[in-house]
Amino acid sequence: MRDGYVRPVDFRHGRVDMTHGSGGRAMAQLIDELFLREFDNRWLRQMNDQASFEVPAGRLVVATDSHVVSPLFFPGGDIGCLSVHGTINDVAMAGAVPLNLAASFILEEGFPLADLQRIVVSMAGAARDAGVPIVTGDTKVVERGKGDGVFITTTGLGVVPPGIDVSGDRARPGDRIIVSGSIGDHGVAIMSLRENLSFETTIESDTAALHGLVAAMIAAVPDIHCLRDPTRGGLATTLNELAGQSGCGLLIHEASVPVRGQVSAACEFLGLDPLYVANEGKLVAICAPDDALRLLAAMRAHPLGRDAAIIGEAIPDPHHFVQMETSFGGRRIVDWLTGEQLPRIC
C-alpha cells in the first residue's frame, strides 16, 4: 500500500486550531514541519518525551522563565528570541555555561501559523547563535479568548565551572557596581508600540544572550561577587534585590549611569524613570574594588559590554537602602518599584 498524501501545514494562511494541541496527527505534523525542522538537533531527532545527555563536571544550574510580551514583535526582536535570551541570561548570571534549553508553547486557537513560524524561526536562530540547543519541548492549544496569541516558557540548564561562586548575597561594602551598557532600551522599544502611546523612535530592544560576555568577564576576574540581568523593574529593582540579599547599602551616581538620549526623552514625556525600565541584554556586576578596572576593561572589549561603566559602590547600611547621588547634587533613595510601570514587557 502506498503512503497517503499528507497536505503540508499551510504556514501562509493557516491558523492554529484545537487539533494542533490534541496529541493527534495534526499536532505531530506541526511538530515535524515546524519545531523539529527549525530547532533540529540530535536530541530532538530521537523523538522522545525528554532529552538525556551527559553533564560536564561542576555545579548544575537550572532557571525557568515565562514570556508573555505584548506586542509579540517589536523593534530589535520578538517573543521568540526573547524567550531564548531571557533564560540563557538567567543561567549565565550564576557564572554558568548554558548547556541546553527546553521550550513550552501555549498557543491560542486562531493564532496565525505564519506568525508562529516567524517566532519559531527567530527562536531557532537565537539558540543557534548562542550555541545552546532547544532539546525538548511541549505544545498546548487553548480556546480563542483564553490566551493572547502565544505564551512561551523556556527552561535552561547550565554548569558552573569549579571555583566560581557568583551569588546575589556576596556584595560587601567597598565593592564596585558595574553595568554593561545603556539602560531602558528594551522597555522603551516595547512602549513605543503600545496602542495608546505610539511614538516614533529608532530605539531597538537590547535583547541578547549574555553568556559570552559573562565568560569573558569570568576569564578576567574569576571572583566576581554578584551578577544579575536587570529585566522587569529595571536597574533599580535589581539593585534593591542585591542590597537586600547581601545585607548592605548600594550607592550609585546618576551621572555615571549610561542612558541613551532617546530613552531619557521618551521616559521624560511618559513620566517614567529609566532606572525602572526593563532591559533584556544588560547585566549588573559587583566585584571587589581591586578587580573593578580589570573587569571593566574585559567588558568593554566585548561587543555586548562596549558601553560598560562603573556606576557606584556598596556601602555599609543596616537598612539596605539603594541611594543615588543625583547629578543635581542632592541624594535620594532609589526605591523598589511601586505598582507597575507598564505590564507585559517581557
Partner: protein, 382 residues
C-alpha cells in the same frame, strides 16, 4: 536631553544654593509653600532640600490632584464602573487611591469592572467611538491643567455625535485652594503654620496666567513666585522669594517666563468657560467643603455629564482615623508626624491619598527621602 538638562545642571544648582545661603543669612526663618505636587516631586527627586540652609523650610501644599480627591468621589467612580457594559476611563494615578470598603479602581478592575487607564482625554473619546454599543465614562480629575483637555473631549464628542460618551467631572480650582489655606485658622489666627510665601504653580499658570495670584500678594501680603517644575526653576524661585521677604515686598513674580504670561492661554480659558460652570461647593480631601472651588458641566452640555445621566449622588466619607493626610495637605503636619507613615501606610499599600500619587507629600518623602529619617551610614567607600 536638550532643553531639559539645562534645568537640572548641578553646577548651576550649587551657585544658586550659595546665593540662597548668602542672602538668607538673617536671624529669621523662611517658610515657603510649594503649592503643586509637581514641585514637591522635583524637590524630593533631585534632593533640592539638601542644598538649602536650615532656616529655609519647604512646606508641601495641596496641589496634588489625586491627593485632594475625596473618598466619596472615588466610590462614585467605582459604582459607575460596576454598571454592566460600562467602560470607565481614568488617568493612571487614580487607579490605586483607596476608597471605601478596602476598594480601589484597581481592585474593581480585578473584580471584573472594565476600567481602562488612559494618557489623555482624547483616548477616552476614541474608546467611545470604537465601542458604539457600550457606555464610556471619562473620570475627569485635576486642576486647571487638565481641565481644557476635558473641555476638548466634550466638544469632540458633541461634534462626532457620540451618544455613549460622558464625563464624570471632578475638576478643581487652584486659587480657591490657596485662599482656603490662607484663610485657615492655623495660618490666620493661631499662627501654627508659619507661611511666608508661595511657589506658584507651573502648568496651571500656563493656562490661567499669573494675574489670579495678584490678589493673594495684595490681600494677604504674601509673595508668590511662579516657577517651572525643573529643579533649577524651584531653586531660582526660592532665591526670588528670599529676596522679596528680605526687601519686605509681596509681589507676584514669574520665574517661568518661558511658558507663563500674565493673562494665560486665552483659547483654553474660553473653552473651559464654554463647557464648565462653577460649583457652589465641593469637598476636598484635607480641606473639607470649599465654596466655589470646582467645576461642573454646563446645562448646555448636559448630554455629556455623567452625573446627570447616571444620577450620581455624592456621599462624604471620613478619612481613616489614623491618617493625617488632611493636616499634611494644609501644611500643618509633615509626613513623618503621621503615625502610620511608612508602617502600615506605604506606596504599595496606601492608607491615605498622599501616599498614592508620586506627587503626594508622603509618597515623595517615602520614595526619595526616608533614609534621612534613620541613622544611616551614607559615606561612600571611595
Amino acid at each position: 536631553m536638550k532643553y531639559i538638562d539645562e534645568f537640572r545642571d548641578g553646577a548651576v544648582a550649587r551657585q544658586l544654593a550659595a546665593a540662597i545661603r548668602r542672602e538668607a543669612d538673617r536671624p529669621r526663618s523662611y517658610n515657603l509653600m510649594e503649592f503643586c505636587g509637581g514641585h514637591t516631586h522635583a524637590i524630593s527627586r533631585y534632593g533640592v532640600a539638601d542644598l538649602l540652609p536650615a532656616n529655609v523650610r519647604m512646606i508641601h501644599g495641596p496641589g496634588c490632584p489625586v491627593c485632594v480627591l475625596p473618598i466619596g468621589r472615588i466610590d462614585n467612580a467605582i459604582e459607575l464602573a460596576a454598571r454592566p457594559g460600562l467602560i470607565l476611563c481614568t488617568y493612571a494615578d487614580t487607579m490605586r487611591v483607596p476608597a471605601s470598603r478596602g476598594l480601589s479602581l484597581l481592585k474593581a478592575k480585578a473584580g471584573g469592572s472594565d476600567v481602562r487607564m488612559v494618557y489623555s482625554s482624547a483616548d477616552a473619546v476614541r474608546i467611545a467611538r470604537e465601542n458604539p454599543g457600550r457606555e464610556v465614562v471619562f473620570f475627569a480629575i485635576g486642576f486647571e491643567t487638565t481641565t481644557p483637555p476635558t473641555a476638548v473631549a466634550v466638544k469632540a464628542a458633541e461634534a462626532a455625535g457620540l451618544a455613549n460618551f460622558t464625563v464624570f467631572c471632578n475638576h478643581v480650582l487652584t486659587p480657591s485652594a490657596i485662599s482656603n489655606i490662607l484663610e485657615s485658622p492655623e495660618v490666620r489666627e493661631l499662627g501654627t503654620v508659619p507661611l511666608d510665601g508661595f511657589i506658584g504653580p507651573a502648568h496651571v499658570s500656563t493656562v490661567i496666567g499669573s494675574q489670579p495670584y495678584e490678589y493673594f500678594a495684595e490681600e494677604y501680603a504674601k509673595p508668590v513666585v511662579i516657577a517651572g517644575f525643573e529643579p533649577l526653576d524651584v531653586m531660582q524661585a526660592i532665591l526670588m522669594l528670599v529676596r522679596q521677604l528680605n526687601e519686605g515686598r509681596a509681589e507676584v513674580e514669574n520665574e517661568f517666563t518661558r511658558a507663563v504670561t500674565r493673562d494665560g492661554n486665552a483659547k483654553a480659558k474660553a473653552l473651559v468657560a464654554e463647557v464648565f460652570e462653577l460649583r457652589k461647593t465641593f469637598e476636598w480631601r484635607g480641606l473639607g467643603e470649599v465654596p466655589y472651588s470646582a467645576l461642573a458641566i454646563k446645562d448646555k452640555y448636559r448630554a455629556f455629564d455623567a452625573e446627570a445621566r447616571y444620577g450620581i449622588t455624592y456621599r462624604s466619607v471620613p478619612d481613616n482615623k489614623a491618617c493625617e493626610c488632611g493636616a499634611i495637605l494644609r501644611g500643618v503636619k509633615k509626613p513623618t508626624d503621621c503615625k502610620v507613615f511608612g508602617t502600615v501606610c506605604t506606596p504599595e499599600n496606601p492608607i491615605g491619598s498622599c501616599m498614592v500619587s508620586s506627587e503626594g507629600a508622603c509618597a515623595a518623602h517615602y520614595t526619595y527621602g526616608r533614609f534621612k529619617d534613620v541613622a544611616v551610614v551614607t559615606e561612600g567607600a571611595r
